[in-house]
Symmetry: C2
Subunit: 354 residues, 2 copies
């Protein structure tokens, strides 16, 4: 039995209606829904429509400001600090990305940070905004729940603080990296638990520092950072750049938004945009990116490996397929969404016109 | 038998004389020697005086331009591209860092890239230059030899492309991260081989994709990236930002400077400086960094772990100890340096006044 599929516009329309029903203004609901649908379209299915019930719950609980005054608090030629006024993170980071792109066009590059923002979906969504302007996007965020202790420690003072980078190519698909600083994201642990599978060694450890393999016991352990102390260092630095620098929550002040729908998260994020035109001919740069991509793709493979992928290439292909064939929605998720629609008295996803 | 120690000024004076003997002008020799000695002082002993014989060999072979016209080729308010004219990388990146700091003071942040540069020592050396200005430094470089294949591949198209970040604190030592994007640096593999030890699983793999444990066989295998495909993605993105963006060598064009002392390496590096003053009160920021550092240091530890370290903390402590007690020089290295001194007819390190 394959999962039912929905058209991206259908998904977008459904989420717009739902977000309006819990109190977002029409324009804002549409912007958030568009970005969430884009997350599903690129295959970041842990950050798209699956988050809708949680977002609605938080909005209904008053944990998100539905009429935020998102504003530039500090500004220089190449920097800005945006106060998100506890609005939906998607609105805050879209504004931040647009401002950074405009500034980079003038100054060659720009760095825009946020505080009092909220969860904004997949990191790559905002880094990718640079691509249509032939620019490079980098994105850093403080994750919305701490799952990572410092190296050698047991207190969960760090999140999986993600990094994204989007780099335009010429004829090839752009290079898009979107990674948590832990070996596995928490969503992957949950998926293993649902399928009744064990985790490979290296994903998690227990409170004695021993490998934890049973995902059912994940609450007793911790995610492990990539490269051991290196990933710990990366998670910390990303948190300092995206959180502390912006005066946003970091470390023990991070609110676990999975378990607390009321408290202001004071989420910090940062987007950096670099304009390749400030370093030379853009067409030449994109051509060189193509050369590198092809050298990598066509290079010798380990016996048994069918293909060497570039970061973002599979996601790019998936996006094209989902645009043609629709986005698959697992039936368990569809049931959850149907219950939400019933509660809010809005049309279900299936009943929304494609 | 403990290693003999030398005073940092002694080391600096010795390297200045030696670099002058192979043809660097006095000022440039002194600048390079200062930065190399600083590398030893902070414990980056794979990037300090140990490189002197190799640098001398390359300079003597004409592989480095001893009279470079290091110049700004492209410039905007927040960016610059520096042409290193094949000069010593230390000279190029010191210039780049100084320019980036000056620009960041005006624009809030700046990004300066280089091409036609050379190996410049440890990444953290340049990121750290931001600290005395109460700024944040980030550094990216294309490594000077390819040891890393793309994920699933066998062709060494990538280097261990390092990342460094330096973040000022208040009363605490600054946070300084300096990491290769591979699990182990090549120097660590060589050290294991010298000690006759096996490598842990996860450092290297062989051409069949199987773990390679014997460091004597390292030529038959490859370094592994941190977090598998994530580290591959990071190494690639760092290479694109530090290399391709600047029109510098990347991928198959990278010259292995361990085996080729003649060819122009066209090394690419990038330094980004962020001024916390553009985001709020600097004193408040540094105070918050202190709070985070102390929360982490004082947090609960895995049984058996004596202390939780912050990135750069051990290096900071080592620097203070080496300033007091001198920098240890292993006897094998001392012998190599003595042979170099004899060849060049300059005073040996031991004969140089402290």
């Amino acid at each position: 039995m394959t999962n039912p599929t929905v058209h991206v516009r259908q998904l977008e329309r459904y989420m717009t209606t739902t977000l309006q029903a819990v109190g977002l203004p029409a324009d804002d609901a549409h912007t958030v829904a568009q970005l969430m649908a884009e997350a599903d379209l690129q295959g970041s299915d842990g950050h798209g429509v699956i988050r809708l019930p949680q977002y609605c719950k938080r909005i209904q609980a008053g944990g998100v400001n539905t009429r935020p005054q998102i504003r530039v608090e500090q500004e220089r030629a190449a920097t800005a600090l945006i106060h998100g006024d506890n609005g939906m993170g998607h609105l805050v980071m879209k504004r931040a990305a647009e401002l950074a792109i405009a500034k980079a066009r003038q100054s060659g590059m720009a760095w825009v940070g946020s505080h009092f923002s909220n969860h904004a979906g997949p990191a790559s969504l905002y880094a990718r905004m640079a691509l249509e302007h032939d620019m490079i996007g980098l994105y850093f965020a403080v994750g919305n729940a701490n799952h990572l202790p410092p190296w050698g420690g047991l207190s969960m003072l760090l999140s999986t603080n993600p990094i994204a980078a989007a780099i335009p190519a010429g004829e090839e698909a752009p290079i898009v990296l979107d990674m948590a600083t832990t070996v596995a994201a928490y969503g992957k642990v949950k998926a293993k638990a649902q399928r009744g599978e064990m985790m490979p060694e290296g994903w998690m450890m227990d409170r004695l520092g021993q490998p934890l393999l049973d995902p059912q016991r994940s609450e007793e352990g911790f995610l492990l950072p990539i490269g051991g102390y290196k990933g710990y260092g990366l998670a910390l630095v990303v948190g300092l750049l995206a959180g502390t620098l912006n005066g946003a929550a970091m470390g023990k002040d991070v609110v676990d938004f999975n378990h607390d729908v009321h408290s202001v998260t004071d989420t910090g994020q940062a987007i950096a945009i670099v304009d390749p035109a400030a370093f030379g001919e853009v067409s030449h740069f994109k051509q060189q990116v193509d050369v590198l991509i092809r050298d990598i793709r066509n290079s010798e493979r380990i016996p048994g490996v069918d293909r060497i992928w570039l970061p973002g290439e599979q996601s790019h292909a998936r996006r094209a397929a989902y645009l043609r064939e629709g986005i698959p929605i697992p039936s368990a998720l569809m049931q959850t969404l149907d219950r939400l629609s019933e509660q809010l008295n809005v049309p279900t996803l299936s009943a929304t016109a494609p």
